[in-house]
Each structure stands twice: as structure tokens, then as C-alpha cells.
């Protein structure tokens, strides 16, 4: 049994119903978790399982699947030298708790997901657009956003 599976089992034992499934693909482990428990699970991963670093946080738009969005947390542990992915499925309009309090890196990464996907992170300290300007209409990485963009009103001063 791989070391990563061990950690996944500990996660399942601790959170039970909040763990919706786990699987391995190409030697990489992913765990599907309930969006409501993201913050608790994240904190457990950091404190108990040793995932000190949030290497990446992003989202995927699976239109036309329902639930439509998936927020993906790529964790890394220096102690175990292991990577683990947490995935939380979200319906359109559903929000998820911020993990900013667990890893500082989440601040900008969550802002980017908010900017490009329109996913809201509850209790985020500074949820503004980061790559596009305030007042931009639409969220470009959504599948229903046209490749050539939508006309924007730009005020020149």
C-alpha cells in the first residue's frame, strides 16, 4: 500500500461522509470532498497529514456536467515528499469557504479563480479581480464565455 493511500485512508477515517471518493490516476492521488468541509479538511491536511504547502489552487468548468465546477487544491508535503489533490464539486452559484487562513498562498490563487471562473470564496479577505480590471463583464475561463471575448466598456481618463 502506497504512503499516499495511507494518508487518504486517514483522511477518510477522520471525515467519513465528507469524503466522496478517492482514486489514483497515473500514480497521482485525488480525493473528492464535500464543498462544505473544505476548510476543515484543508486544516487537517496541513496540521495532521503534513501538507504544509498549497502548491496550486485552480478550478475546472465541466459544462454541461452537473455540478458544473470543480475547485482543485494541489497540496504538497515536504515531510512525505508527496502530492495530493483535493477536489470539491460546485454547482453554479454555489460558493466555497476560503483556505486563506490555512495557507497564505491561497489569497491570490482564490482571487484568480474568482476572476476567471466567478466562483465566490466565502470570508475571503480581499476578493477582487486580479488579472482583469474591476468592472470587467464575464468570467473568461467559463466554457460559455466566447473565445473572442465580449465587448467591454472601458473608461479612459
Amino acid at each position: 500500500m502506497s504512503e499516499c493511500q495511507n494518508l487518504v485512508d486517514r483522511l477518510t477515517a477522520r471525515f467519513g461522509d465528507a469524503i466522496l471518493g478517492a482514486g489514483e490516476f497515473r500514480g497521482q492521488w485525488s480525493v473528492r470532498i464535500a464543498p462544505g468541509s473544505v476548510v476543515e479538511i484543508a486544516r487537517f491536511c496541513r496540521d495532521e497529514l503534513g501538507f504544509e504547502m498549497l502548491a496550486d489552487l485552480t478550478a475546472v468548468d465541466f459544462t454541461p456536467r452537473s455540478p458544473r465546477f470543480q475547485v482543485v487544491y494541489n497540496l504538497y508535503s515536504f515531510a512525505h515528499n508527496l502530492r495530493l489533490r483535493l477536489k470539491a464539486d460546485l454547482e453554479e452559484g454555489e460558493s466555497v469557504g476560503t483556505v486563506e487562513g490555512v495557507w497564505l498562498a491561497a489569497n491570490w490563487l482564490e482571487r484568480e479563480v474568482y476572476d476567471l471562473f466567478g466562483i465566490v470564496f466565502d470570508d475571503h479577505s480581499d476578493l477582487r479581480r486580479i488579472l482583469l480590471w474591476d468592472g470587467y463583464v464575464g468570467h473568461p475561463l467559463r466554457k460559455d464565455f466566447p473565445l473572442h471575448g465580449v465587448p467591454q466598456k472601458v473608461q479612459y481618463r
Binding site: 497515473r26 485525488s30 496550486d56 485552480t58 515536504f78 489533490r85 498562498a105 488579472l131 473565445l147
Partner: protein, 392 residues
């Protein structure tokens, strides 16, 4: 007594020390930074969106245009991720793998030289720029010999490399390896014991180790604080585990140590290139698998089957099994990760780049609050950011 107010100053977007177009809004109390808010996105081209309408082959060209000082390493990371998705990572020809390592390390040298030149220039040491650019030019000539391009090679392809390196490349690389250590000594001679350089950089931009990890800092910035972590060692790819090299680290993690770490890394890269040259095996540089790789160029003009294979691959692309993969490589700036999600078609459902510069830049405010304006320039320089990658 007159009332005093904090002053708001726009640093950038067009400021030579912001390496691209980064705007930092500084709130200043005299010369002390009270608050710093970076505004990104001036170079946002929507590369992640564009990749979703391109085949896996075509999307490669987008990776060149992120961190344009480390294009080959960007190519490498992306290609390895696609190969992992396809499950063909073990079938890449040995010669291609060794050449990939050589190209990546040469690119790392070029990237570090650009950093050294501009960082020193930011802090007022102009001479270093001319020295470092001289060697950078040599490296770009070497890379041009192999790839045909200086900045946007798109050369590391799924399955290997599109063509072998010419014999002249190896000769020139040997000559370069012989010459370069002396050049690094020259840069060190200009800066390492330079009193002005030390005063500008020592004790500047320090974060605690805990914060560094929490901010997910990677690359030389993390190593300067004493965390001995490098993707090439921790989770090796391209056979890096078989090369003999060290991970230079610091202890304090200030701007000065980041400089020392990068210079030491250049020496390590030289060692890796030397070993790669010594072990370079003969053989093909491209996997011959009709499903993913084009036929040899020569065959396309001679056999109709090869022509069909070429046409099919280039127009329709290849199908990739459903699934997702996160793969990271050690770029010049830190951990460059690719998270690819495939729905089983020829185009990625999601093409996500984990940009080391973006993640590293986030720690800027914490490093400069309470310090002088002049330190802002030093810290931005030491983070080695490239805005093409931050904004994508």
C-alpha cells in the same frame, strides 16, 4: 504643527525595475512603505483559455510565451505533463531525454544571467549587465543552433525532439563550458564583496521559513532561507536523479543570499551539462509512434502513408485518455506546474499553469512593509519575476 498624511505613489506600470508591466501602489510614510498593493494583468492574454481550443501540439507554442526567459523549460514541463497523461513517459528515447536536460540547463543559465543583469542594473550596478548579456548571447546562439529560435523555440515536443542537435552544437557547448566558470568569477568579482551591493541587499526582504512555505514560495527564494528543496531532486524527471549536483542553500534568506544561491546554481547547471555531454547516447531523438508523433521529415516526401500520418496528426491532433495530471518541473523561478485535464478529446479541457512568479510575487507586500522605497526595487528584483508568466 502641520498635519502629515501618507503619500500614495504609483510604482509602474512603466518602471524599469518592474520587469514588464507591473504596477505597485505604494502607501508611503516619508520613505517608509506602509502598504503595497500590486496590480497585475497588464499582459494578460488569456493563454489558458486559448489552449482549450488548440490541440495538444498547438498548445505547446503558448508555453513559450509565458516566461519568455525560460521557454525551453516551459516546453519541457508541458511536454512531460502530456506524456504522462498519455502514459508514454517511459518510452522517450534516451538521447532525447539527455538532450532535453542539456537544453533545460542552458536555458536556466540564460534565465539566471538575464536576472543577474537586470537585478544588478536595478540596484545601480550597470557594468554587470554588459558582462552577463555577453554570455547570454553565447547561450542563445547555442540554443539557436539546435532549435532555430532564440526566445520562442517550441522545441521540446511530445515524444522527444523534432530534430537532433548539429555536431557544431556540442563543440561550441564544450568551449562554452570551459570558458564560463571564469565568467561567473568575474560577476562575483564585481558584486559579491562589493560594499554598495552588500548594503543594498543584505538584511533586505527577509521572511520567516514558516511564511515562505505558507506562501508556497519555491525556487531560489525558498532555498535562500535554507530549505533544501528542488523539484529536480525531490521529484526527479528526465533522469535528474542520475546526475551528480548539489542544491545550494542559504541561511537568512535576504536578497543577498538569493543572489548567492542563483550564482551557485549556475555552477551546478554547468556540472549537469558536462555530465550530460559525457553520457549522451546515440540513437533517435523522437519516439516513433504513429498515434502521437509525426513521421521523419524525409519520409513525408517519399511515402503516401507518412504523408497521411503527418496530415492527420497536424490537422486533427491526437486523442488523450480521460483524466487529469499535475506535473511540475524546476523552472528558473521555482516550481512550474502544469495541471492538465483531458476529456478524452484532442484538446485539453483545462490547461492550467502553476506560475512560480505569480505565487512568489504574492509575498512582496510582506517583505517590504516597514522598509524603504529603495528596498522595493531590490526585493522585486530578487524575486525574479517575469510578467508574461504572472499575467499569462
Amino acid at each position: 504643527m502641520a498635519e502629515t498624511r501618507n503619500m500614495i505613489v504609483n510604482m509602474g506600470p512603466q518602471h524599469p525595475a518592474t520587469h514588464g508591466v507591473l504596477r505597485v501602489v505604494l502607501e508611503l510614510d516619508g520613505e517608509i512603505v506602509v502598504k503595497a498593493t500590486p496590480h497585475l494583468g497588464h499582459l494578460h492574454r488569456g493563454l489558458e483559455k486559448l489552449a482549450e481550443v488548440k490541440t495538444y501540439h498547438q498548445a505547446l507554442t503558448l508555453t513559450d510565451r509565458m516566461d519568455y526567459t525560460g521557454a525551453l523549460i516551459n516546453n519541457l514541463g508541458y511536454t512531460l505533463a502530456v506524456e504522462k497523461l498519455l502514459g508514454i513517459e517511459d518510452q522517450i528515447p534516451a538521447r532525447a531525454t539527455v538532450l532535453r536536460v542539456m537544453l533545460a540547463e542552458l536555458q536556466r543559465l540564460a534565465g539566471h544571467l538575464l536576472w543577474l543583469a537586470t537585478h544588478a542594473l536595478d540596484l545601480g550596478a550597470m557594468t554587470v549587465l554588459f558582462y552577463a548579456f555577453r554570455e547570454r548571447e553565447t547561450i542563445h546562439d547555442l540554443l539557436e543552433d539546435v532549435t532555430g529560435a532564440r526566445l520562442t523555440p517550441s522545441f521540446i515536443r511530445v515524444g522527444g525532439l523534432p530534430q537532433d542537435a548539429p555536431p557544431s552544437f556540442f563543440e561550441k557547448t564544450r568551449a562554452f563550458l570551459k570558458d564560463f566558470p571564469r565568467r561567473i568569477d568575474q560577476y562575483e568579482g564585481l558584486l559579491t564583496k562589493n560594499k554598495i551591493w552588500r548594503q543594498r541587499t543584505q538584511g533586505v526582504g527577509i521572511l520567516s521559513q514558516e511564511d515562505c512555505v505558507s506562501f508556497a514560495l519555491t525556487g531560489p527564494v525558498l532555498r535562500a532561507i535554507g530549505v533544501k528543496w528542488d523539484v529536480r531532486k525531490a521529484q526527479p524527471y528526465c533522469g535528474y536523479e542520475t546526475y551528480d549536483f548539489e542544491i545550494p542553500t542559504g541561511t537568512v534568506g535576504d536578497v543577498y543570499e538569493r543572489y548567492l544561491v542563483r550564482l551557485a546554481e549556475m555552477r551546478q547547471s554547468l556540472r549537469i551539462i558536462e555530465q550530460a555531454l559525457a553520457r549522451l547516447p546515440e540513437g533517435p531523438v523522437m519516439l516513433d509512434d504513429p498515434r502521437f508523433t509525426p513521421p521523419p521529415r524525409q519520409a513525408v516526401g517519399e511515402h503516401i502513408e507518412a504523408l497521411i500520418r503527418q496530415f492527420k496528426l497536424m490537422s486533427a491532433g491526437f486523442k488523450v485518455p480521460e483524466g487529469d495530471v499535475y506535473l511540475s518541473v524546476e523552472a528558473t523561478k521555482g516550481e512550474l506546474g502544469y495541471y492538465l485535464v483531458s476529456d478524452g478529446s484532442e484538446k485539453p479541457l483545462r490547461f492550467r499553469v502553476r506560475p512560480p512568479c505569480f505565487v512568489n510575487l504574492q509575498s512582496l507586500e510582506k517583505m517590504i512593509v516597514g522598509r524603504l522605497v529603495a528596498d522595493v526595487v531590490a526585493v522585486i528584483g530578487s524575486l525574479d519575476i517575469v510578467l508574461g508568466e504572472i499575467d499569462r
